[in-house]
């Protein structure tokens, strides 16, 4: 909300400097997010009168100006300057707020001594179609900035919902400021004193939707423009002056917070009724859109149908125009929830709707009519006596009883009962009582209902700076979930091995999940776009996207990891599983003097083995897996102690191509909960006391025999004598026969009880060879 400094000063009389006011407002909870000065830098412009206006070309006019002390000639392209109009005149040498300095210029042979200014050029409004027309009584020759009271500060105030109810208007902001400055709160307009209801204005209302509806009849007696100060205030609020009577209703709304709606009286047919819209009922609103309504939306109808979407926008049918000489003016209360719901559904955030949606004080319509009746003469209109009244003004809520100990305890400030009462009175509350506080909010505070609301007001009134600082007493720690620490530890393990943590969105394009063979199970009902429609079923989608991004700018060394949740559906529930994933592509090292190894399946496998060791996971088993997204011959499930931890492999070449990746990518994804369960306790073993014997062994087996199988047989045959086996060569081709391969291993043999002899080693090798021959068809090479 934009708040004009000069407006606040008019209401309150006197104010500190604008920066100080901004700080006070922020301290009150009315956060000033921005402060700018209208007309700052304007120097040299004066008030002048168009003594004569004559056309220069089809689009330019020559204006002879009376500057009070002399004459000047200006050329203007604006068509709204008539003879006798008082206008802002920037003489040569004038500096404008945008930094320009004016020099004489020539148009079609006519020298223009400076220019006439629009509101936009002065910096007070967005209107740059025409020249700003000043009141006739503006003193000719006076400095324009002085005349307009420039520069004038504008505060951009961010209104939280707690202030939207009572501070979405200047009077509300002024009251807060007055309380903070210890000034007397401005009273605002009283209730309109009206005679009995006017029988000729029959109005019916549905009290559930519209508890109070007032209708006043306004007549035009004279044609007068909207006063400049009102125009300026509308501009500052981001509204556009249109017609004096409409401007006035908007002005009263900005000033005291009650939206008002003027209907062209001659366009209304018969009696007014406020009711719920019928499903499918349509209305053409002022913005030219046809809106389809739902039951629960509130409409204002005459006997010919809806004439306004209540509290939000009028219809074209009863729109006030320049010809309108009689107006039916509505001042009402509408059910906040209905307005809020319609506002959200229709995307219609009109100034009126934003105020109704937060609720209004019950007496405000009466006060708004009073204020209108005061202002109408300024634009040549008058309010007829006799107000149509439908419904009833809601009763003021009862006083709130508050225990002063409660306030002291909640705030932690030692405030006596009297101090609490004083604090509340400063904000316009009535407060008193012996043992308990009896608190009655002022009429404009319908949001204060509970003891904690009262405590909050006390705090705001005394200021948060009054809060002492005291750390809370300690409380017992609760057991933390293992997931948090394990997630960080798992990432740290991969990071130590060269992987970079890359967070990605958990929302993604369902097609990408599909192409990875992990189709979406949960989707958002209202996605921002299709590429953020599905909840991820794998972390690989995001990581592969990051791989593509990095390849696109030419990076060839890619190692990324991520920990996060994936989402599956289980009936009417969603299951969240925490995963750890890694991707590896290109080379380990950047191009350079040292060899850059191309990564392959075994690069990632080695990393995963190392990472899982760092995470204290027990012995691992790898078994070929069948994941359609992965290379059929280069993928494996990873187990430990019978638990399936996850899977790794090389991306299937066609998936890789489909994802737009131009090199092989290794991927792995693991369940953190399973890793957690597969962790083994750290335990010391005794250091071997007897020396180990090393023996090398090379055997020839069928290609189909896996190393894993060979190792399994070897371990079974040698038992605890075999403390380590290291594969150091895999060889195919001559002299190894076709269809066969040679595997060379170095065995470490050791006994915990004695020193092994050569004979022991030979016997062990013989035993191993026999078992390998029997179970794997292996022959000594």
């Amino acid at each position: 909300m934009q708040v004009l400094y000069s407006w606040l000063r008019e209401i309150l009389g006197e104010l500190p400097l604008a920066e100080e006011v901004a700080n006070i407002l922020t301290g009150l909870g009315l956060e000033v997010e921005g402060l700018h000065r209208q007309g700052e830098g304007l120097r040299g412009a004066i008030v002048a009168k168009a003594a004569d206006v004559s056309p220069l070309t089809a689009r330019l006019w020559r204006v002879e100006l009376d500057t009070g002390s002399g004459r000047a000639v200006c050329v203007t392209g604006a068509s709204n300057v008539g003879r006798g109009a008082v206008v802002p005149y920037a003489q040569p040498g004038t500096r404008l707020p945008d930094g320009r300095t004016l020099e004489p210029a020539e148009f079609h042979g006519q020298v223009s001594e400076g220019m006439l200014l629009s509101a936009d050029e002065i910096g007070i409004g967005a209107d740059h179609d025409g020249i700003l027309i000043l009141p006739q009584d503006a003193p000719l020759g006076q400095d324009l900035a002085t005349y307009l009271g420039l520069p004038d500060a504008v505060f951009d105030v961010s209104l939280t919902p707690s202030f939207a109810q009572h501070c979405q208007n200047m009077l509300g902001v002024a009251r807060e400021l007055a309380a903070a400055l210890g000034m007397i709160l401005p009273a605002g307009p009283g209730r309109l004193r009206s005679g009995d209801g006017d029988a000729s204005l029959a109005v019916r209302t549905d009290p559930a939707l519209c508890p109070l509806y007032l209708g006043a009849r306004l007549v035009r007696e004279d044609e007068r423009p909207t006063p400049l100060y009102i125009q300026r205030r509308l501009w500052a609020a981001g509204m556009r002056p249109v017609l004096p009577i409409v401007d006035l209703t908007n002005y009263v709304m900005l000033e005291i917070g009650q939206p008002l709606h003027p209907f062209a009286d001659d366009r209304l047919v018969g009696a007014i009724q406020v009711r719920s819209a019928r499903p499918g009922e349509q209305i053409e609103t002022l913005d030219g859109l046809t809106r389809v309504l739902e039951s629960g939306d509130i409409v204002i109808c005459d006997e010919a149908g809806p004439v306004a979407l209540a509290g939000m926008m009028g219809s074209q049918r009863a729109e006030v125009t320049e010809e309108t000489a009689e107006v039916f003016l509505e001042a009402a209360l509408f059910k906040p929830a209905s307005i809020g719901a319609a506002m959200r559904r229709l995307g219609l955030r009109s100034e009126a709707a934003q105020r109704f949606a937060h609720g209004l004080p019950g007496s405000l319509p009466w006060r708004a009519l009073q204020r209108m009746s005061e202002l109408l003469p300024e634009v040549g209109w008058r309010m007829l006596p006799g107000i149509a009244v439908a419904g009833e003004e809601p009763a003021a809520p009862p006083a709130i009883n508050v225990d002063p100990h409660y306030v002291r305890r909640l705030l932690g400030i030692d405030l006596s009962q009297e101090e609490q009462c004083d604090a509340l009175r400063r904000l316009g509350f009535e407060a008193g009582g012996d043992r308990e506080l009896a608190v009655t909010p002022p009429y404009w505070r319908i949001d204060v209902m509970e003891p904690w609301d009262v405590a909050e007001e006390v705090l705001r009134s005394v200021g948060v700076d009054r809060l002492p600082e005291e750390l809370p007493p300690p409380a017992p720690r609760i057991a933390e979930p293992p997931s948090y620490a394990l997630r960080l530890e798992a990432l740290a393990a991969l990071e130590a091995l060269g992987y970079r943590d890359a967070l990605s969105y958990s929302l993604c394009d369902p097609k990408e999940l599909e192409s990875l063979g992990r189709p979406a199970e949960v989707e958002t009902a209202n996605p921002l776009s299709v590429d953020m429609q599905a909840l991820r079923t794998t972390l690989l989608q995001g990581l592969l996207k990051a791989v593509r991004h990095n390849l696109a700018y030419g990076r060839q060394e890619i190692a990324l990891c991520e920990a996060g949740r994936v989402f599956a559906r289980d009936g009417d529930a969603v299951v969240e599983t925490e995963m750890l994933a890694a991707v590896l592509a290109g080379t380990r090292l950047p191009f350079g003097r040292y060899e850059a190894e191309r990564v392959d399946f075994f690069s990632l496998k080695g990393d995963i083995e190392a990472a899982l060791r760092l995470l204290r996971v027990g012995a691992l088993d790898f078994a070929p897996s069948q994941d359609p997204a992965l290379h059929p011959g280069r993928q494996a499930d990873v187990f430990s102690g019978g638990r399936h931890l996850g899977r790794l492999g090389e991306l299937h070449p066609s998936v890789q191509r489909h994802l737009g990746l131009d090199l092989p990518v290794m991927v792995g994804e693991f369940r953190l909960a399973e890793i957690n369960l597969a962790q083994v306790a750290a335990r010391a073993k005794s250091t071997p006391r007897f020396p180990a014997l090393i023996r090398d062994l090379a055997v020839v087996v069928d290609q189909a025999v896996t190393y894993g199988r060979l190792r399994q047989v070897l371990r079974a045959a040698l038992g605890e004598l075999l403390v380590a086996e290291t594969l150091f060569d895999v060889f195919t081709g001559s002299p190894v026969p076709d269809g066969k391969k040679s595997l060379a291993l170095r065995l470490t043999l050791q006994s915990p009880e004695r020193t092994l002899t050569d004979a022991d080693a030979e016997a062990a090798i013989a035993r191993a060879l026999q078992a390998l021959g029997e179970h794997c068809g292996a022959q000594l090479r």
Partner: protein
């Protein structure tokens, strides 16, 4: 051999040793002159053939010559070895400015770094971590937190709902975890923090539809707003330095009342006003307040007896402030040029 010929022998030997220019030649000279077949050994061996009165002196002279030659040869060998080593060390000199054998290093995401820092500080103040689901019930995300259906605050948090899963949504804040934690602990005193991923239908330079928050909650008998203030100030001082200017100001959140926001003096301009703080000299870091009685009741605490405070902040925002990141979307691209800059520069 006459005594005079020992002098001749010495002259010849010294001449030969002088002529030996390298270690090999010196070692050859040693073999020639001091070897078992050399002239000195030969002469010593033939002493017995000399007349007895000459034997003693000749023996002495020959031994003296042998010792002298031995000393000279050793000295020559030593200096030549030293010379050889010196030459080798020169030859083996490398260009130390050539690159080292590179190691691929990984590292944490700036967001995780920021989160770890926040968690570290809050744990130190006595809070324990709890976590909760990202897919949350509409009830716990809103109603339990005092945000009923028609509450204007629902507008502040544009929500992702789930297709075919009525009543479920992607949590818009980590606050439902607070309710879960309260329900698990009531009526015991509670000090928890809930870090986690949250979702809002928002996408621009400062808002990402997926982001992270951390929230803290303290519930117990006699918890007041002065406890909140001290906790937040302690937290901010640990995070931003003991001298950082701090400001608490009233605000609004539906789940707390009274509500406050904490501002810290802008670390970029030290309060002078800059682009980051929009000229105000202050940067908003967290929202907080006294837990609303409605929320306490939802958590299983009797609001007549118990009070509590809560606070929350965005981890993205903290990371952006701490590391000077200006576009939140950079955090989610996985761009290695971006990610590798938070740990010294890449080779």
């Amino acid at each position: 051999m006459a005594a005079g010929s020992v002098g001749e022998l010495r002259r010849q030997a010294l001449e030969a040793i002088d002529a030996a220019m390298d270690l090999e030649a010196v070692q050859a000279a040693r073999t020639t002159w001091l070897g078992r077949k050399g002239p000195i050994v030969d002469a010593l061996r033939s002493i017995k053939d000399r007349p007895p009165e000459e034997r003693r002196d000749l023996g002495l002279e020959l031994n003296r010559l042998r010792d002298e030659l031995e000393a000279i040869l050793s000295e020559r060998e030593g200096s030549l070895e030293e010379e050889n080593l010196r030459r080798r060390l020169v030859d083996e000199r490398v260009d130390v400015t050539l690159p080292g054998r590179p190691r691929a290093i990984g590292g944490p995401h700036p967001l995780r770094m920021a989160e770890a820092e926040l968690v570290r500080v809050l744990r130190k103040i006595g809070f324990s971590i709890v976590e909760g689901p990202e897919v949350e019930s509409e009830y716990l995300n809103f109603e339990a937190l005092n945000i009923p259906e028609d509450h204007p605050a629902r507008e502040m948090q544009d929500t992702f709902y789930l297709r075919d899963l009525p009543g479920l949504l992607l949590r818009t804040h980590t606050s439902p975890v607070q309710v879960r934690a309260m329900r698990a602990s009531a009526p015991n005193p509670l000090r928890v923090i809930c870090p986690g991923r949250v979702y809002r239908r928002d996408d621009d330079v400062t808002h990402s539809p997926v982001f992270h928050q951390i929230e803290g909650l303290a519930v117990g008998e006699g918890i007041g707003m002065h406890h909140l203030k001290a906790t937040l100030y302690e937290f901010a001082r640990q995070l931003f330095g003991a001298d950082v200017p701090l400001r608490l100001r009233p605000s609004y959140f539906p789940f707390t009342e009274p509500s406050t926001e904490l501002d810290v003096g802008c670390p970029f301009c030290h309060g002078q006003g800059c682009r980051v703080c929009k000229g105000s000299g202050w940067i908003e870091v967290l929202g907080s307040g006294m837990v609303h009685p409605h929320v306490l009741r939802e958590g299983g605490y009797d609001p007549e007896r118990f009070t509590g405070f809560a606070f929350g902040l965005g981890i993205e925002r903290t990371a952006m402030l701490r590391y000077g990141i200006d576009d939140v979307r950079l955090l989610y691209l996985g761009d290695l040029r971006f990610l590798t800059q938070f740990q010294g520069s890449e080779a």
